[in-house]
């Protein structure tokens, strides 16, 4: 393939990866703390898409963006309070089923409210501005996504490393029960995790959908699965890991499609997962934790 095409693909891959990374972080953090695959995360991301559609229809985009982020955060925390908190003491499996239940509910709800037909995603003028560098052409968002991702991640890492809350969060994910004993308010920490996760998902969705221009009730599913794989690949519970995973998946996927293996672009992601589980279950950057006997 020609150099230009190659660059174009890289661009696509990186921006896709950026969006993935933002979602993957949500999975990674929640898993780190609750040991729960938050299946609903993908659908929170999808819902954020719909929020945008509706807020833009009544506000200018400058106002809509904060509204969307807020709405998504509320949704995320609500889900946590309603569906996960009551099951804290319950067996792992029930919580996981609950998570699936929520995702099932959100999808069906979206189908019911907004119909299965795709809704056009509002174009945010500055983001959509066409940029041409020689042969390569893409809208601003394509360039913006990876940059924004990196910035947000650095902010997050700062939060985790340098602030008291961050320390608390890391403590909880290291040892749930002990940190409870240490007087950390587990529930508020968990909520905070969901706040951060959802907020990032919201930003991710804005970037992702601006690039793809339409939302359907199921447009969360595949990205969701892939992002979880990204989180595992990077080492579940580790933020930088999730980011690296996100970019890796995004790029590899794009290039598989580019090389004409679009059939297997999804399959590959999961093949990757199984391989990781086989050879390095803790992922690239995660360290393993043994449960006490």
């Amino acid at each position: 393939m020609s150099f230009v095409t190659f660059i174009q693909h890289c661009l696509t891959g990186v921006s896709l990866g950026g969006a993935y990374a933002l979602i993957a972080i949500g999975y990674s953090m929640v898993y780190g703390i609750l040991l729960l695959i938050n299946f609903a995360h993908a659908d929170i991301f999808m819902m954020a898409g719909y929020f945008m559609i509706f807020s833009v229809s009544s506000f200018p985009w400058q106002i809509s963006i904060p509204i969307v982020i807020l709405g998504t955060v509320v949704l995320g925390v609500l889900i946590e309070k309603a569906a996960y908190m009551p099951l804290r003491s319950a067996p792992r499996m029930s919580i996981m089923i609950s998570a699936i239940g929520v995702s099932y509910l959100l999808q069906n709800l979206a189908t019911y409210l907004f119909s299965a037909l795709p809704q056009a995603y509002p174009a945010i003028p500055p983001l959509k501005r066409q940029i041409r560098i020689g042969e390569v052409s893409a809208s601003l968002v394509t360039f913006l996504t990876p940059v924004l991702t990196i910035i947000l991640v650095f902010l997050l890492i700062f939060l985790l490393r340098k602030t008291k809350i961050g320390m608390a969060m890391r403590a909880v994910s290291k040892d749930y029960d002990t940190s409870k004993l240490m007087g950390i308010k587990i529930n508020s920490i968990i909520s905070l995790t969901f706040v951060i996760g959802s907020a990032l998902a919201a930003v991710g969705s804005i970037l992702y959908f601006t690039d793809r221009m339409s939302v359907t009730p199921f447009s969360g599913v595949l990205p969701g699965l892939k992002c979880f794989v990204a989180a595992v690949l990077g080492g579940i519970g580790s933020v930088p890991g999730a980011v690296i995973g996100g970019f890796l998946i995004g790029l590899s996927e794009t290039f598989l499609v580019a090389l004409g293996y679009s059939t297997f672009s999804d399959a590959f992601t999961f093949l990757l997962l199984i391989l990781i589980l086989l050879f390095r279950p803790t992922g690239l950057m995660g360290e393993d934790l043994q449960d006490k006997v």
Binding site: L36, L105, T111, Y112, V221
Partner: protein, 417 residues
């Protein structure tokens, strides 16, 4: 002691009676299915789903492993069955785009010597076998890990299966994107036979379901079944009891997958024409819904769940989806998609407030029913049904006449965090 024996024989006859009634009903439905087409097709679907649900329960409910690969394994079974059973005369019509791979054609020609019923059974078995092999190899890496990795990996696997089946590279085998049709249905398909076309369209799936489910029940009640439950209860302790975790998880996973695949084959026969898209994650979720509503760890629960859910979803609750006006009053909410919303909410209710589902982890048994009724009369609270029949205590000590149901699991319990 004698009373237990008496009760046993008693419930045996009762079950026999019920079975006969069921058979009679099915037969009656079948004879005039022209008027009850809906009922027939819904019952067929329920039968198929009950098999899948039970085999999923074997993993999630009895062994405490969380697998979400059902759709994938069903796809494998469905496609194998379809490819092998499509009548030779119709094959070229089905593979109208790319034509069928010569080797496959060869295989089918050699197989075509078998009479159709045999061919179908054979196809189902092959489908199961292939699925089993896949399950075995996925199990090796994945079963060592925490249960949720299993969940995501199996989910991934079923996505892979779907992608591979619909890939153009396999056009000449799975007919890629074009789907397969002309799959023989449950009923007798060759006209001119002794039986009318379509005869047995209920009884045949009924017996398929009966045998497969019976097999799983036997496994569960065997010593291996106990081992599975032990693993579910506490892996470390189970291992300390000398139970080889990997081996037994592997075993449960393979058995479950094989049965699931066979059910997939049955689904293909039910749908008569299949395409990869039908085997998406949603299918798995629908089955999970059945299992959870029926009750994790209860075979009879899964079967009950399959029927209740399928009947409600495909028949009785249909009106949820169409706007409905009663006496000039437009009933609110009733609109496309409302049905599924109701079901997902129901799922959440069950998961959050009523984790035991319809049957909890208890099984249906006449003894249970009678006690239930009796207790009802006496107004004593009790659980519906009870555990699988009790081990006979040694003759030395007199057994407690009617021991308390050890079934019901309390909150938490299952696998520890």
């Amino acid at each position: 002691m004698n009373q237990t024996v008496w009760k046993k024989r008693y419930s045996f006859y009762l079950s026999l009676l019920v079975l006969l009634v069921a058979l009679g009903l099915l037969f009656w439905l079948e004879v005039n299915k022209s008027n009850y087409g809906m009922a027939v097709s819904v019952i067929q679907k329920s039968l198929v789903f009950s098999v899948v649900a039970v085999s999923m329960n074997l993993l999630n409910g009895f062994t405490g492993m969380f697998s979400l690969g059902q759709a994938g394994f069903m796809a494998i079974g469905a496609y194998t069955t379809a490819i092998l059973t499509i009548p030779l005369s119709r094959v070229d019509g089905v593979y109208y785009m790319k034509g069928v791979a010569p080797w496959l054609k060869g295989v089918k020609t050699t197989l075509s010597v078998l009479p159709e019923p045999l061919l179908i059974v054979f196809a189902l078995l092959i489908g199961g076998m292939i699925a089993g092999i896949f399950a075995f190899f996925i199990g090796i890496p994945v079963l060592r890990l925490k249960s949720d990795y299993l969940a995501i990996a199996t989910l991934g696997f079923s996505e892979i299966v779907r992608a591979v089946i619909s890939s153009p590279q396999l056009d000449r085998v799975t007919n890629g994107s074009y789907g397969l049709k002309n799959i023989p249905g449950f009923g007798v398909t060759q006209a001119g036979g002794v039986l009318p076309v379509g005869a047995g369209s209920l009884l045949i799936p009924f017996f398929f379901a009966l045998t497969t489910i019976a097999f799983i029940v036997l496994v569960i009640n065997s010593s291996y079944g106990r081992a599975f439950k032990a693993i579910r209860e506490d892996e470390v302790a189970a291992e300390a009891m000398g139970i080889n975790l990997l081996k037994h998880k592997q075993l449960a996973f393979v058995i479950s997958s094989v049965i699931t695949a066979m059910a997939g084959g049955m689904l293909a026969m039910y749908m008569r024409s299949i395409e990869a898209r039908a085997f998406s994650v949603t299918l798995t979720y629908d089955i999970l819904l059945i299992v959870v509503i029926g009750g994790l760890g209860s075979v009879s629960g899964s079967v009950l769940g399959a029927f209740v859910v399928t009947f409600a979803k495909d028949w009785f609750l249909r009106f949820f989806d169409s706007p409905l006006v009663i006496g000039g009053f437009q009933v609110p909410f009733l609109r496309m998609g409302f049905r599924m919303v109701v079901f997902s909410i129901l799922l959440m209710i069950v998961v959050l407030f009523y984790r035991r589902g319809l049957m909890g982890s208890s099984e249906f048994s006449w003894k249970g029913i009678f006690r239930w009724i009796r207790r009802k009369k006496e107004g004593v609270e009790t659980t519906k049904g009870e555990m699988i029949d009790y081990p006979d205590p040694p003759p030395a000590k007199p057994a407690p006449l009617i021991p308390d149901p050890p079934g019901a699991p309390q909150e938490g319990g299952r696998d520890e965090r």
